[in-house]
């Protein structure tokens, strides 16, 4: 499989002497959906900025789709990676949805004749085709983030990074974005790196990188990572609801198989109930 992101021994510090990112290494393969999970201040957003060259690493190496990230390759790397940031307002550049999607296309010199098609295609993919001439002040946070995703998709990157893209949204907006991301992975086999402290969101990933104080604690599947209740508690993260319930039931002596999935837990309980 193709390695899309290859990070080796990466270090970074904002202030001399205090390591924000401390010797981290990980690989992300084509078509994978990976989540970096950590509490606020764990350094997770710094990683995103390093990956697209908005911050300059102190040491180590970053390779994106085969390109070494350096000054020479900067724009090539950025063509490979699209990133959705946290604040929906501050990344909306155009005066309307249409203009905002066009902004990226102008930057990569797509000919004028092809722009309208691309704009329409990707606006309808994120279900914003009814809003093309709307101004950002008339859109909800979730809608703005969808526009940001459309703007990125139109530039056809091979990797999408979501840097806490849902943390400022209401539940509906969060739900919409999570669903959209799942579809992108399924239908377009995009490589997705999502940065979050939301456990429920992390459950959707193929792989979780657990981060604390700029260091990787562990890497594994959601089942592996999210079952480590003690570790999660120590890192000030939430524990998935179904896991909490199944663990407490287990402590009470019930034969419950610990699970992250609420439906599965309910089924187990129903079977137990039927037995009695």
């Amino acid at each position: 499989m193709d390695k899309m992101i290859e990070v080796k021994d990466l270090c970074f510090e904002y202030v001399e002497g205090s390591q924000t990112i401390n010797h981290i290494s990980f690989d992300i393969y084509k078509g994978e959906y990976v989540t970096i999970l950590g509490h606020n201040g764990s350094g997770k957003s710094t990683i995103a900025k390093l990956l697209i060259g908005l911050l300059e690493k102190k040491s180590g190496s970053i390779r994106i789709h085969g390109y070494e990230l350096n000054l020479e390759n900067l724009y090539k790397v950025r063509e490979q990676v699209g990133i959705v940031f946290q604040n929906p307002d501050n990344q909306f550049i155009g005066a309307t949805v249409r203009d905002d999607i066009a902004f990226g296309l102008e930057n990569i010199c797509i000919p004028r004749e092809e722009m309208d098609d691309l704009i329409n295609t990707y606006a309808s993919q994120v279900r914003m085709d009814q809003f093309l001439d709307h101004e950002p002040t008339k859109l909800s946070g979730g809608q703005k983030q969808r526009v940001a995703i459309a703007g990125i998709l139109a530039m056809s990157p091979s990797i999408i990074i979501l840097d806490e893209a849902t943390s400022m949204l209401d539940p509906r907006g969060r739900h919409e974005i999570n669903e959209l991301v799942r579809d992108l992975k399924k239908e377009r086999e995009m490589t997705i790196l999502s940065i979050t402290h939301d456990i429920e969101e992390a459950k959707n990933a193929d792989k979780i990188i657990l981060l604390n104080e700029g260091q990787i604690i562990s890497i594994g599947t959601p089942q592996e990572i999210l079952s480590q209740v003690d570790v999660l508690e120590q890192l000030k993260l939430d524990i998935p609801f179904s896991l909490k319930v199944s663990q407490k039931l287990e402590e009470k002596g019930f034969h419950i198989h610990k699970t992250l999935d609420m439906k599965e837990l309910e089924n187990q309980l129903c079977q137990l109930n039927a037995k009695n």
Binding site: R172, I199, V245, K248, M262
Partner: protein, 283 residues
């Protein structure tokens, strides 16, 4: 400190081409000492409504009564300051209102605006900084050197320093991580238990279930439902139609009850839930 609204309405930009009716015919009462949640989708009028509670917005229709103050569309009050002291409003992302060189000065800003002497304001600052979970050594620091979550605490301390009888909070936990969220909500519970009325706008129904006693559901500028938290969460079909998720606990109970369990749907914590499930399976 009860709050009563009669036919309260608010129109933004009245008389301009951009006119917009944000509130219409709001009738409700919020009891003294309650912990009330205001829920509803973005744009349902929640933020507009809470700004009436300390007269940042004045009604364009109807009236609102807060204790002995009556503010109506026809009768604007002379001075709003004493009302604003009684009801403290914490806006969304309140960390953006910090401006002083030290945290102490920032916290003292509110009380001193309401005529408290400097020495007394300093004493208050010492007290409230600890209430929000930071120690007194922070008082001399600049608010701009703090992390996002700490800034939020300082901003809230600035409102608590005014010792309001009503505390109104607009999505106070937005953007905080789980640990910060839990600590924040526990703080509001303590404040409520000390006898203050707490009103919170939130999208997190788990918080509503765990912490609040009353809930008001808003939709399109109207109050559609009001009642105890228990009653509001009974009608899951209605909430779903508004795009409001049920609290995880209630969700699970309703699911299980559909499949033959008989669990009390007003349970609001995991231990009781586990107890109830256990009881059924054994029983």
């Amino acid at each position: 400190m009860s709050i009563k609204c009669k036919k309260l309405g608010y129109i933004y930009g009245q008389g301009t081409p951009f006119e917009f009716q944000a509130l219409k015919d709001v009738d409700l009462e919020i009891e003294e000492g309650s912990f009330t949640a205001i829920i509803g989708q973005t744009g349902s009028g929640k933020s507009t409504f809470i700004q009436h509670i300390n007269a940042l917005l004045l009604p364009t229709e109807g009236e609102i009564q807060i204790d002995e103050y009556t503010i109506s569309a026809l009768q604007k009050p002379e001075s709003l300051k004493s009302l604003r002291k009684k009801s403290g409003l914490v806006f969304q992302f309140p960390e953006y209102q910090l401006f002083e060189e030290t945290i102490e000065k920032d916290i003292m800003f509110g009380p001193m605006n309401f005529g408290v002497e400097e020495e007394e304001a300093k004493t208050i600052a010492k007290k409230v900084i600890e209430m929000v979970g930071l120690d007194q050594s922070y008082l001399e620091k600049s608010p701009f050197d703090l992390s996002g979550g700490q800034k939020r605490r300082v901003a809230i301390a600035g409102i608590l320093a005014m010792n309001p009888d009503i505390l109104v909070l607009d999505e106070p936990t937005a953007g905080l991580d789980p640990q910060g969220t839990k600590e924040m909500m526990n703080l509001f519970k303590i404040i409520n238990e000390s006898g203050k009325t707490v009103i919170i706008v939130t999208h997190d129904m788990n918080h509503v279930l765990t912490y609040c006693d009353h809930a008001i559901v808003m939709n399109n500028g109207h109050v559609e439902r009001k009642g105890t938290v228990k009653d509001i969460f009974q009608d899951s079909a209605y909430l779903n139609q508004l795009g409001i998720d049920l609290p995880l606990i209630t969700h699970m109970i309703l699911d299980l009850n559909k499949k033959g369990f008989h669990i009390d749907s007003s349970i609001n914590n995991i231990d009781d839930l586990v107890e109830a499930i256990g009881g059924e399976i054994h029983g």
